[in-house]
């Protein structure tokens, strides 16, 4: 029953992502981002991308690297405050941007992975996020109808994975990764440690392999820290 989903590296994993594709990137800030695949995307130079990612990285790391190379046509995110190049491209009109609430972003991934076409949410009611959106009233409350994402590719980063695509995440590097893994038509996972089937406890799998199409062991993770904060010690 061992379905093998291993590809050699990031270049092979992303080789069929075409200009104009919609691509999700896991991670929160710079935590748990697919560094290898982002580097490969920058190297390949794919353009006109629609990127779905909670954040846009920083100017010189994460999804920010693709923004810097003008590979991104449209960005769907919830918070982009760390990226001044992003803000510049947005205010100058070079970049199309859709900002959506973080929980809505997460839930639109979840329902895509669960085959649910839309979900009613309270977040954004009465704000500009609600503009043009279908609404529904339930128990006296108004909800926005939010659609499941449709992404050509989802690219995620896990801590451990096996050759069948089962994934385990570490600490808050989990964040959007398991959700986006479920939401991609094709899902690519890069992992810090790739193991054989049977080496992961079936009870402790965060993303079942059925949701993952390609997997490889990444290299040279920088794991940059965005805000190093430490305790005062006397």
């Amino acid at each position: 029953m061992s379905i093998n989903k291993v590809v050699a590296n990031a270049d092979e994993a992303i080789q069929d992502i075409q200009d104009g594709a919609t691509v999700m990137f896991g991670g929160f800030g710079l935590c748990g981002i697919p560094e290898n695949c982002i580097a490969a995307m920058v190297k390949k130079g794919t353009t006109n991308l629609t990127c779905i990612s909670n954040n846009a990285g920083v100017n010189d790391f994460g999804v920010g690297l693709m923004l810097h190379k003008k590979q991104v046509k449209k960005m769907i995110a919830s918070y982009v405050g760390e990226n001044t190049e992003f803000e510049r491209q947005l205010l100058s009109g070079e970049l199309e941007v859709q900002l959506i609430p973080q929980g809505t972003l997460a839930t639109r991934c979840l329902i895509a992975g669960y085959g649910i076409p839309f979900v009613p949410v309270l977040a954004g009611v009465g704000t500009e996020v609600a503009e043009g959106k279908e609404t529904v009233v339930r128990n006296g409350k108004k909800y926005l109808i939010e659609e499941a994402f449709e992404a050509d590719f989802a690219i995620v980063k896990a801590w451990k994975g096996d050759t069948m695509g089962n994934l385990i995440f570490k600490d808050t590097a989990r964040n959007f990764n398991p959700l986006m893994a479920m939401a991609g038509k094709t899902t690519i996972a890069e992992v810090e440690e790739l193991v054989n089937p049977g080496q992961l406890n079936p009870n402790m799998i965060h993303t079942p392999g059925i949701y993952v199409h390609r997997i490889f062991q990444g290299t040279n993770y920088e794991k940059r820290i965005e805000h190093k904060t430490v305790r005062k010690t006397n």
Binding site: E87, P101, G103, A106, T127, E128, V129, D171, R231
Partner: protein, 218 residues
């Protein structure tokens, strides 16, 4: 004297009840964690996917895989649980988080809040703020009474794009403590040595002074 940021946080910490799950936003709200009263056990939620947020790590022990919603390196505590962002906002939406403390640029006297965007100037995104204010039952805003220009941030109507409508329950500023009631901002406490007249001068929305208004006890 107006309250310092630490004192605002200290005052808000008095709202904590034993057994509360609490979400603290970036800025002054984060400081609330330093003033949790003796005998009160609370669990801090970080909306990127953690219950049981602990203090910052010791220098050299920081881990890039363990951050809070403000992207700061943090630690877990015994009994922590980690989950994905959908579950994180799921528990917020389902009303399992008892108290949310967050900052604001403006609050209106009907409980509207604006804290995510200044058109044509600052575009950072709402992050989890819209989800939090839409779902939480008890939302306390921690902020200064006025902006750097000296203009009141307690308004009759927000001028900036809204984050959420009719959601704020209480505001703690450097000048006092305000509850949102149908008649507007109800001032229930004033900072020591801050006069009611000063509060009136620096509140631009409808203001009601509570009969039993008293100094902030911190």
């Amino acid at each position: 004297m107006a309250l310092t940021k630490e004192q605002i946080a200290q005052r808000i910490a008095k709202e904590l009840k034993d057994g509360y799950y609490v979400n603290l936003g970036i800025g002054i709200p984060t400081l609330v964690a330093n003033f949790i009263p003796e005998g009160i056990n609370v669990v801090l939620q970080s909306e990127n996917g953690l219950l049981g947020m602990g203090p910052f790590p010791e220098d050299g022990k920081e881990d890039a895989d363990l951050i809070n919603a403000g992207k700061q390196t943090i630690t877990t505590l015994p009994g922590s649980a980690i989950f994905d962002s959908a579950m994180s906002f799921g528990m917020i939406r389902a009303g399992k988080v008892h108290l949310t403390v967050l900052g604001a640029m403006e609050v209106a006297d009907n409980g509207d809040i604006a804290n995510w965007k200044i058109p044509n100037k600052m575009v950072k995104g709402m992050g989890g703020a819209m989800d939090l204010v839409a779902a939480a039952k008890n939302i306390i805003v921690a902020m200064q009474q006025t902006n750097p220009k000296g203009e009141s941030k307690l308004l009759s109507k927000c001028s900036l794009p809204l984050t959420g409508i009719k959601c704020v329950t209480k505001i703690v500023t450097d000048l006092g403590v305000f509850e949102i009631i149908p008649d507007g901002f109800l001032c229930v406490e004033h900072a020591p040595d801050v006069t009611i007249d000063e509060i009136k001068a620096k509140t631009s929305g409808r203001l009601v002074i509570a009969d039993n208004v008293k100094p902030v006890a911190i």
